[in-house]
C-alpha cells in the first residue's frame, strides 16, 4: 500500500493565497502575498518539482490586468521551504509547527551605531521605506530660555551646495522647512528639492548652525534679549524593517557618516542589451515593475532610451520578465547564504540553478592505472672462479676512520636530519685533514 500525497487546498484572503497540505502527523502551508511579489521568477527556477510558473508578468507590469504574478500547481507542489528560501521579497512563506532551520538567500545590512549621527537621510533615501529614523532632539523652544522680552536681530543664510538634507535642523526648529521629494528617482536619487528659512520665526539662536553636520548654515546674531541657550543633544536610532529591505545599498552610499554596511543577496550584472528594440512610445514596463525604481530615461537620445542605476540593482530579474521586447539582460554570478546548516549541500545545488553559466556535475569513473607486467629476474651465471685480490687492509683503515666519524655527535645529528649539503663541506675537510682526526 503506497501512501498518496495529500491534496493541497488553496484559500484566498485579501491578496494572500495560502496553500495547505494536511498529513496525519503534520500540517504545513505556503503563504503567497501578491502585494509583496515582484514577479522576478526566482522561485519558479528554484522549485524542485517545477510546480511554479510565471503569470502574465508583461500585462501586470503594463498595468493592464491585476493577477497573481506566479501560479503554483497544486497537484505538483509539495509545500517545501525551497521557494520561500529564495524569495528575497518575502512574498512566499513556509509555515509549519517546529519548522527546520533551512538556509535562505539573503543579503545583509548593518548600521554601526558608533558612526551613525543619527539623521534622516537613510530614511528618506530608502525606496522601500525600510528604514525608520527615530530622532529625539529637544525643541528649540525648550533650549532657548528668555528671561524677559523675546526679540533678536541677526542674519541667517543656508549654503545649498553644502546642505545634505539631513533634516536635523528641521526637527529642531519650526523656522526651517525642507522640501522633501516623496520618491527619490535615479540617477541622483535626490531626497529634497530645497530648504527654506522663515526669517520671521528665526531668532538667530545659532543652534541650527551647531547642529548642522556640514556647516551649511551661517548665522550671526547681532543683538538679542537676554537668554540662555542650552546645547542640543541628539538621541535616536535607525530601525530596519528586515522584511522589506532588499539590500540594494542605496543608503550605504548616501549615508554621510558611512555608518551602514550592506551586502547584496546576489552578485551579478544588468545591462540594456538591445536598446534598439526598446519601445519608442515608452511602454514603461520595466519602470513599473522594478522594486527599487532604478530605471530612468536618458537625456541624450543618441545613446539608449532607458538607463538603469545598476549599482543598486539586486539582479532579481523581474525587469527581464516584464520587457516585451527582450531589451534587458540580467546575469547572476553568485549568491549569499545565511548560515552553515546540514541542508546547505542540497540547497546550494538548488541555488546554483539561479546562477548563469551553471553546469550540472558530471560523474567521473575512476580509472585504474594499467599495471605493467613484472619483469622476470635475469640470472647471470657467476663463475666460481678464484676471488680477485682486494685491498682489504686499506678498506679497514678507512672504514675505521668513518666509524669514528659517525660516532661523533655533531656528524650524527646531520646524518639523522638528512642534511647532506653540510656533510659535503665536512667531506672537504676530511680530504684536507690528512691526519683524519674526528671533529
Amino acid at each position: 500500500m503506497s501512501v498518496e500525497k495529500p491534496q493541497v487546498t488553496v484559500e484566498v484572503v485579501d491578496n494572500t493565497l495560502t496553500y495547505t497540505s494536511k498529513y496525519t502527523m503534520l500540517t504545513k502551508n505556503l503563504k503567497f502575498s501578491i502585494d509583496r511579489c515582484v514577479g522576478c521568477g526566482l522561485c519558479s527556477t528554484a522549485c524542485p518539482v517545477e510546480a511554479i510558473t510565471l503569470g502574465p508578468i508583461k500585462d501586470i507590469a503594463a498595468r493592464k490586468i491585476e493577477a497573481p504574478q506566479i501560479i503554483i500547481d497544486e497537484a505538483k507542489c509539495i509545500i517545501c521551504p525551497v521557494g520561500a528560501s529564495v524569495c528575497i521579497f518575502n512574498a512566499l512563506k513556509f509555515n509549519t509547527e517546529e519548522a527546520l532551520k533551512t538556509p535562505r538567500i539573503s543579503g545583509s545590512i548593518n548600521i554601526d551605531i558608533s558612526k551613525c549621527k543619527p539623521c534622516l537621510i537613510c530614511e528618506k533615501t530608502c525606496p522601500r521605506n525600510s528604514l525608520k529614523a527615530e530622532i529625539k532632539i529637544p525643541k528649540k523652544e525648550d533650549l532657548v530660555k528668555y528671561e524677559g522680552e523675546v526679540w533678536a536681530e541677526g542674519e541667517i543664510k543656508i549654503n545649498l551646495d553644502k546642505c545634505i538634507y539631513c533634516g536635523l535642523c528641521e526637527i529642531l526648529c519650526n523656522a526651517i522647512k525642507i522640501e522633501w521629494i516623496d520618491k527619490p528617482t535615479p540617477p541622483e536619487f535626490k531626497i529634497a528639492n530645497g530648504i527654506m528659512i522663515n526669517e520671521d520665526k528665526c531668532d538667530y539662536c545659532e543652534l541650527c548652525r551647531e547642529i548642522c553636520p556640514t556647516e551649511a548654515i551661517s548665522v550671526k546674531c547681532f543683538k538679542s534679549a537676554s537668554r540662555t541657550v542650552a546645547k542640543p543633544e541628539i538621541k535616536g536610532k535607525i530601525t530596519i524593517d528586515i522584511n522589506n529591505c532588499i539590500w540594494c545599498g542605496l543608503c550605504v552610499d548616501k549615508c554621510p557618516q558611512k555608518a551602514i554596511e550592506a551586502k547584496k543577496p546576489f552578485t551579478g550584472e544588468i545591462r540594456v542589451a538591445k536598446p534598439e528594440k526598446c519601445d519608442p512610445s515608452g511602454c514603461k514596463n520595466c519602470f513599473n515593475i522594478c522594486p527599487l525604481n532604478l530605471f530612468y530615461i536618458t537625456k541624450t537620445p543618441s545613446e539608449s532610451r532607458i538607463k538603469v542605476a545598476d549599482k543598486y540593482c539586486i539582479y532579481c530579474g523581474a525587469c527581464v520578465n516584464a520587457c516585451p521586447y527582450d531589451v534587458l539582460k540580467v546575469n547572476r554570478f553568485g549568491f549569499n547564504i545565511e548560515e552553515n546548516k546540514p541542508w546547505n549541500q542540497s540547497y546550494i545545488e538548488i541555488y546554483m540553478k539561479l546562477i548563469d553559466k551553471y553546469k550540472p556535475k558530471i560523474i567521473e569513473y575512476p580509472m585504474r592505472k594499467l599495471a605493467k607486467p613484472t619483469e622476470k629476474a635475469i640470472l647471470r651465471e657467476i663463475s666460481e672462479a678464484a676471488q680477485p685480490p682486494v685491498e682489504i687492509g686499506k678498506i679497514r683503515e678507512r672504514m675505521d676512520k668513518l666509524e669514528e666519524l659517525i660516532s661523533n655527535r655533531a656528524v650524527r645529528i646531520l646524518i639523522e636530519g638528512g642534511e647532506t649539503k653540510r656533510l659535503n663541506s665536512l667531506g672537504k675537510a676530511i680530504n684536507q685533514n690528512k691526519s683524519n682526526k674526528p671533529f
Binding site: M25, P81, I382, K394, I395, R412
Partner: protein
Amino acid sequence: MSKTACLICHCGTNIKGVIDVEKLKNEVKKRYGDVLVYNNEHWCSEDGLKKMGEIITRDKVSRIVIAACTPSLHEELFKKNAEKYGLNRGFVEIANIREQASWVHWHNPGKATLKALDHILMALEAVKEAKPTNIIRRPTERSVLIIGGGVAGINAALNLADAGIKVFLVEKSGFLGGHMAKWDKVFPTLDCSICILGPLLSQAYNHPNIKIYTLSEVVDFSGMPGDYIVKIRKRARYIDEATCNGCNKCLDVCPVELPNEYEYGLNIRKAIVKPEPQTVPVAPYIDVENCIGCMNCIGVCDPKAVNFKDTDKEITLSVGAVIVAAGFKPYNPIEVEEYGYGRFLDVITGAEYDRMLNCNGPTKGRVVKPSGNGEVEKIAFILCVGSRSERLGRPYCSKVCCMYTVKYAIETKITNPKIDITVFYTDIRASGKMHEEAYKKALEAGVKFIRGRVSSVEKDKSGRLRLTYEDTLEGKVEKELFDLVVLSIGIDPDPDNKKLANMLGLQLDEYGFFTEYHPKLKPSDTFRGGIYLAGACSGPKDITESTLQAGLAASRAAQFLHSGEVEVEVIAPEVDKNKCLKCGLCVHACDYKALKQTPEGILVNETACTGCGVCIAACPAGALKSPKKPTDEQIYSMLKAVLEERKDYPLIVGFLCKWCGYAAADNAGINKILYPTNIRIVRVECSGRVSPKHLVWALKMGADGVLVVGCREQDCHYRTGRIKANRRIKSLKELLEKYGVNPSRVEITGVSASEGGKLAKTITDFVNRISEIGPIGSELIEVAAH
C-alpha cells in the same frame, strides 16, 4: 658449562633435496667443536619436538639454533616447546635454510649449501650473545570489534556472541547484509539470498551480546593486542532505530529523486534511503546532503521516529581483538573499452543483472533491455572481465564469476525458457560442492557455452549488439547479434582498505587485498596479534568460503581472549648512562614519543614503545641497549661469522625488515623464484633499526655490497622508520664517496610482503651491479693508480 645445540632440519626433501645436510653438520662441527649437532626429518613434528625436548634436558643445553624453515612459520612453536622443557625463549635462534636457501637456489646446490651454512653460522654467533626474554602478562578486554556487516562479519559476530563474548560490529553503509543481501539467489542451491541471510541479520541485530553501529566507520585505532582503543564515528541517521516501525510511508512521500547507487544507477531512490523492504535495521536513513527539508516524512510518521536534531557521534571502545570483514567492490568495466560498458545501455555488469532478476529490484524480476528497444531474445555472458588480465592490472582469478554466470543462466532459463543464452568463457571453474553438477544442469537446459574471447561489442543498424568472437574449439571467428550483453565482472578490493590498513597496521598485497599471515596454514591471522581477517577483503571468495573464514577468525579471536590475559614481550630499550651523550637524537627519532629528555638523562616510556629500534640506530654512542634481537653486538658477531671467510663472490649482506623485506624473501621462497645465492640475510625489526654503523662494519669486514630492504615508505609499520633509514643511507653514501668507496655498494629499497618476484629481481640487479663494480677495495686501487 653452557652447551649449544644445532638442530638441522631436512624438511623431507624440501631442504635435503637441495642442500647437503651432511656437509652442514661437518662444517659446523669443524668450526665449533663443542656444539652438538643433530639432524631430523621434521623438527616441527610431534616426534621432532619431543626429541628437541630430550636434547635440552638430557644434554643440558642452554642455547639452541634450529636450521629450518622461515622463523615466521614455526618460531613460536619452537620457542614454546623450548619453554616447555625449561629453556627461556630468548635462547632459541632460527636459521632460515629453506625459504631463503633451498627453495630459491635450487639451480646451484653447492652454493645453496654454502649460504645455508652461513645462515647457521650467523645464528650460532648470535645465540652466543643471547639474553633471556622477559615476558609480562597483561589482561585482555573480553570483547571483539568486527569491521563490516556482510555475511562474513555477521557470521563471525554470531559465533563469538553465542560463545559469550561481547561483539561490537561497525558497518559503513546504513544496513546490514553487504553484497549478499543484494543478490537474488545463491549458487548452486539457488536459495533465495536474503531469505537465508535475513534471519542471521535479525539474530545479530537483536542479540544481547552484539552491539551494531550502522552508518559508522573506524576513525582512530591505537593500543596493544588484548587492549585496543578504537574510535568510531557514527553518522547521523535522523531516524530513531528503536521507534521506527518499518511502515515505509516516508519513502513514498519524499519528493527528492536521485540515481540509486544500490541498483548501480538502474533506477531512482529518494533522499530518505531504504534500498529494499526487508532491510536490517528496518529504519531508513536520511541522505541529508540531498534532503530539502520539506518535512513530508515527519508528516506521515506515526511513531514520530524522524528526528532532524540528530548529530554525528564519536564513540570510543576498548576491545581485545579485531576482525576485519570489510568486503569487496565489484569491478567497474568502463575501462574495457571494447565491450562498450558506459557507451551502450544494453551492456550491463553481472551485479546489475542480478538486481534485474531480483523480484525487489528495479524491474521487479523481468529481464528487459535497459535501452528499451524491444524484447530480450538473446543474452550473451562474457566471462573473465576484470580478472585473469595482465592488461587491466588484475591477473588473479576472481573465483565466483564462472559459477554466478551458470547460476544466472539457469535462473533465466527457468523464468524465461524462450530466451537464448550464450556464455563466452576461457575456462569454467566449478570446483566447489555441487558446482560441476550445476554446470551440467546449465548445459542440459540448453545454454550454449563457447570457449573463446569476445573481441568487440558494437552497435548494429538494427539497434541490437553485434559481438565478434573467436570460437576456439571450432577454430572460427564469428559475428553474432545479441539483445543484452552481461559482463561477468570480477572482485576488486574495496578502495577504503588502504585507509583501514594504515590505521590498523595491516598489510595489503599488490592488488589491495589484506595480506594474511600464511595463505595455507593461517589464512585468518594477520601480522598483528589480535587482528584477524574474514571474507572477501583478503581475496576473492564465495559465500561458503567467507563463512568458513569467518568461523576461523571467530575461533582465533576467542582463543586469543580465552585466558583473559595475553603474553607480551618487554621490548623497550634501556639507556646506558655512562655512554649517553645526552644529544637527544633518540628523542627526535622516536615517532611514538616514547623517549623523553630530562635533566637526569633520557627516560624511556615502556608502554608507548613499539620496539622498532629506530632510536637505537640513531644513537651515535651506542648507549641504548635493545632487549629485542638482534642487538648491535649480535649484528657485529653475525657479520663477522659471514665475512671472515667469504664463501661467495660478490658477497652481499642484506638487512631485511621483518614486516616486508624478510616476508618478501619468504614469499620468493614459497613461489620458488630463483635469484643469485650471493646474499646473506639479517632479519631486523624495521629498516629504521639499521644504523650507518652496521653498514660500515659490513664493508669493513669485507662485504662487497650492503642491501637494506624495508617496507615502502608509505607502508612502514613504524610510521617513518623507512624514511629515517633513507636519510641515513643517503648521508652514508656521500661519506663513503669522500672516503673513496663507491657509494653504489650501499642501497636501500622497499617492497611489499607479497612481492617476492620484485625482491628477487632487486637482488639480482644489485648482485650484477656489484660484480660490475668489482670486489670491495678495488676502487681504492684505481684511486691509488691515479
